[in-house]
Structures are given as C-alpha cells and as structure tokens.
C-alpha cells in the first residue's frame, strides 16, 4: 500500500534520514522503534509530507506522494495522522473537531458527518463528550478524540507519531486499547512508539531505526527477544 524507496531528509546540513527502503502492506500494523534522534518521527512525517523529503520516492497506492501537488490534499485525506500532542482544535467542540474536515473538504452533509462522528465517539467510548471543548478533557480522552477525528475522514492508513508519549502513565492503556481494536478491525497502521509491550502484542512487523537507517526489521517477537544487530541489542537492553 505504501512503498518507500531511498527516502532521504536533511534539515540544513544535518541528514536525518539516509536512505530508507520500506513497504507497508494493506492491513499490516508496523511499529517503528529506535532511540530519540534516530529519524523515526521524521520518517513517519515524510509519509504524508508534513516533512518535505530531500530525496527518494514514496508511493501510496497508485499515487506518487513525493511529486504530488494538488493531489496531495486528496492523498492526505486517505492517510490519517495522530500526533504526540493531540493537536485538537481548541476553539471547537469535540463534535466540530470530528465533522469540520469531512464537511469542508469532502462536502459531506452536516447530518451525515455527525452520524459518522457519533459512531466513532461511541467506538472510542466518549459519546458523552460530544459537546464539550477539548480543554476540559484528560490527555487520554484527547488522544482518543484525535484518533476519532482522523478516522472521521475514513482513511485507508493511519500514522501514529508517538501517540502515548505525552500521556500520564495511567492513561496510556485506554489509548492503546483503542489502537488495538483498530488493528483488529484490519486498519493499516504505522506506529512510531516507545511501547515495546504494545509493539510485541499488536504489530505484525517491527522496524528498528538508528542514525537515519533501518537497522533491523522483522517479526516483533523475534526482534525483541533475539535482536541480530549490536545496536538493536544495545537499545533494547536500555528500554526493556
């Protein structure tokens, strides 16, 4: 579904991605781990071009993401994204957060958008929050709303950029639960995460990045319990 070839990204003279090749299959859940500064978030943000790659190509289905101009907005509609800091729209109610883009971008009617939104709120267990503003929600609730907001565009793949890193420990579980259910329902997901337990349990494939390269990838259980590369071993010995 997503094909990445020779992806490079530099910030000024600092090369963060030094040639990444990867393929994400439809329905696959891929967890990306690695030390901070390894380029994993930049990699994810290049997939929908929130970061502009400096080299290489990204194909999403039949589209060339890297060269897309006007089609980029259409491509992005199909690639939902969840951020570390939620980035909910604070000047709108929860319901408006979920309906504004379907209505304004896809031209969905208000009734239809609200119907879809309500269903999603039910899925993430926050139906009763439909009319409140985001600032009255807890971190875990905010992130569940953010997931619902991305899903409201009915994307074909979901990108998660450290979705639980900004949460208090007791709220991590509720967000991971929502993500796990999403995975079970067959959503294609790319997740940059520090939650090794979650990666082991939910991901189909684990990618370990370090220094702008993919160092190792494979079945999460195998990589986590029997890493092949020295750098993977070193990283895992610190976090596990």
């Amino acid at each position: 579904m997503i094909e990445i070839q020779g992806l490079r990204k530099s910030f000024g003279s600092n090369e963060v991605l030094k040639g990444i090749d990867a393929t994400i299959q439809k329905g696959e859940v891929v967890a990306v781990i690695g030390p901070s500064g390894s380029g994993k978030s930049t990699f994810l943000r290049c997939l929908n071009r929130l970061e502009e790659p400096t080299g290489g190509t990204i194909r999403f289905k039949d589209n060339d993401v890297t060269s897309a101009q006007r089609e980029l907005n259409v491509i992005r509609q199909k690639m939902g994204m969840v951020f570390q800091h939620f980035n909910l729209f604070p000047h709108m109610s929860v319901m408006e957060n979920l309906t504004i883009t379907p209505r304004k971008v896809k031209g969905v009617s208000k009734e239809e958008a609200e119907k879809i939104a309500l269903e999603l709120l039910r899925t993430v267990g926050l139906e009763e929050k439909r009319d409140v503003r985001p600032d009255s929600l807890s971190g875990g609730q905010k992130q569940r709303i953010a997931i619902a907001r991305a899903l409201a565009m009915q994307p074909e793949v979901m990108l998660f950029d450290e979705p639980t890193s900004a949460l208090d420990p007791e709220m991590v579980g509720e967000v991971l639960d929502v993500m796990k259910r999403l995975a079970q329902n067959g959503m294609t997901m790319v997740i940059v995460t520090h939650e090794m337990g979650f990666a082991r349990e939910v991901a189909d494939r684990l990618i370990f990045m370090d220094g702008g390269y993919i160092v190792e990838e494979g079945n999460p259980r195998e990589v986590l319990s029997n890493p092949q590369h020295a750098r993977t071993k070193e990283f895992l010995s610190k976090v596990l």
Partner: protein, 217 residues
C-alpha cells in the same frame, strides 16, 4: 481658572458634525486597514521571498515615517503626478495605509503565536493551506489578538485628527473653527478632547465585553 462653555449651545452642531466625520474616517480606516493588514500579514508569512520583501518593506516604510507627512504627500504631493484626490478620500487612504501596516504586524504575531501542530493537524486531515488558515489558525489567532486590535482601533480614532491639516471637517478641524469664531483658546479643545475620549472609551468597553464573551466559550 475661568471656563466658559456657554458657546456650546450655539455651536454644538460643529462638534456633532465633526464627531460624525471622525467616526466615518475611523470606520473606513479600520475596515480597509484590517483587510489590507491581513493581506500584508499573509504576504509577510509567504514562502516566496519577493512577496515577503514587498510586505516587509511596506510595513517598515509606513511605520518609519510620520503619518502627518504621509497625509500631506497623499493629498498635496500626488497632485504632482496628476493624482488629485478629494480631501476625504486622501484622509481615508492615509488612515488605511497606516493602520494596514500596524494591523499586519498584529496579525502576523497572532498567527505565529498559534502552535504549528494546529496547522499540521489540519493539513494532515487534507485541508488546503488556505482552509487551514481560515478555519483553524485565524479564529484562534483573532481571539489572542483582540487586545492588540483594540489598541490599534483607538489609535486610528485619535490619529484621524491629523487629517484636519488637509481641511477635512472632522472633530478637531471644527473645534478649531469654533475656537476662532468665539476667541476661546481652551474650551472648544476641551470639548473635542471629551468627545474623543467618549468614543475611545466606549470602544474599549465594547472590546472588553467581546473579549469576555469569547473567553467564556
């Protein structure tokens, strides 16, 4: 101290007409100033260097030169190039180009103060750059900018008194007319000052109210 306001009954229409003219100048100045201010702010945030340069140069030049000089250039100087604006028009143009420069800075600061994550979230959902600006960034920025905008509106009302030099019969001009027919040096100016104060104070109270309203939501 001996003040005599007995002239007021006879000349009240001068002050009323003047205040009305001041109000008209200010409203037009604010309206166009805001529109062009947003435009220049967006230009200044543009990624195209020439667009950015034009906006920056405009803002620096207008802010760095006295408004009185600008008024005289627009009304008298431009006649040199065959541009002969009626006084009211010259006044509105001068107020507009001035408030646009100051408003642009207010808007730019307001837009830049909004967390980048807001734009990223909007873009990641598939909104265009303009849509993200209009639906997500500007409404939030506007709320933060309200005090600064209020300041600017008050400045425009006060600065509109400068256009009296090109013979627009606004509040100050008419007050000076009353001064000269009554031979009273102080009282007409005090009335003018009081009327200016009523206008600016009313405005600042309205803005406080609006701020509280928006804050509550």
């Amino acid at each position: 101290m001996n003040l005599d306001f007995s002239f007021f009954g006879e000349y009240s229409s001068y002050f009323l007409d003047g205040a009305w003219m001041t109000l008209k100048l200010s409203v037009f100045g604010v309206l166009f100033g805001t529109l062009f201010g947003i435009l220049f702010a967006l230009m200044r945030l543009s990624r195209i260097w020439i667009v950015k340069f034009i906006a920056s140069a405009y803002i620096e030049i207008i802010r760095g030169t006295p408004m009185l000089v600008q008024i005289l250039i627009i009304h008298y100087g431009l006649t040199n190039f065959g541009i002969n604006l009626p006084a009211f028009m010259s006044g509105v143009v001068a107020l507009t180009i001035n408030s646009a420069a100051y408003m642009a800075e207010v808007f730019r600061a307001g837009i830049q103060a909004i967390d980048k994550g807001q734009t990223e979230a909007a873009r990641s959902l598939g909104m265009s750059r303009g849509m993200a600006m209009r639906l997500i960034v500007l409404p939030q920025a506007f709320r933060n900018m309200l005090p600064a905008i209020g300041n600017e509106l008050i400045v425009i009302i006060k600065d509109s008194s400068l256009v009296s030099v090109i013979g627009i019969a606004e509040l100050l001009y008419n007050s000076r007319a009353v001064q000269s027919v009554t031979y009273l040096p102080m009282e007409p100016l005090l009335v003018a000052a009081a009327v200016y104060f009523v206008m600016t104070f009313t405005l600042s109270q309205l803005l406080n109210l609006l701020e509280r309203r928006l804050g509550k939501r």
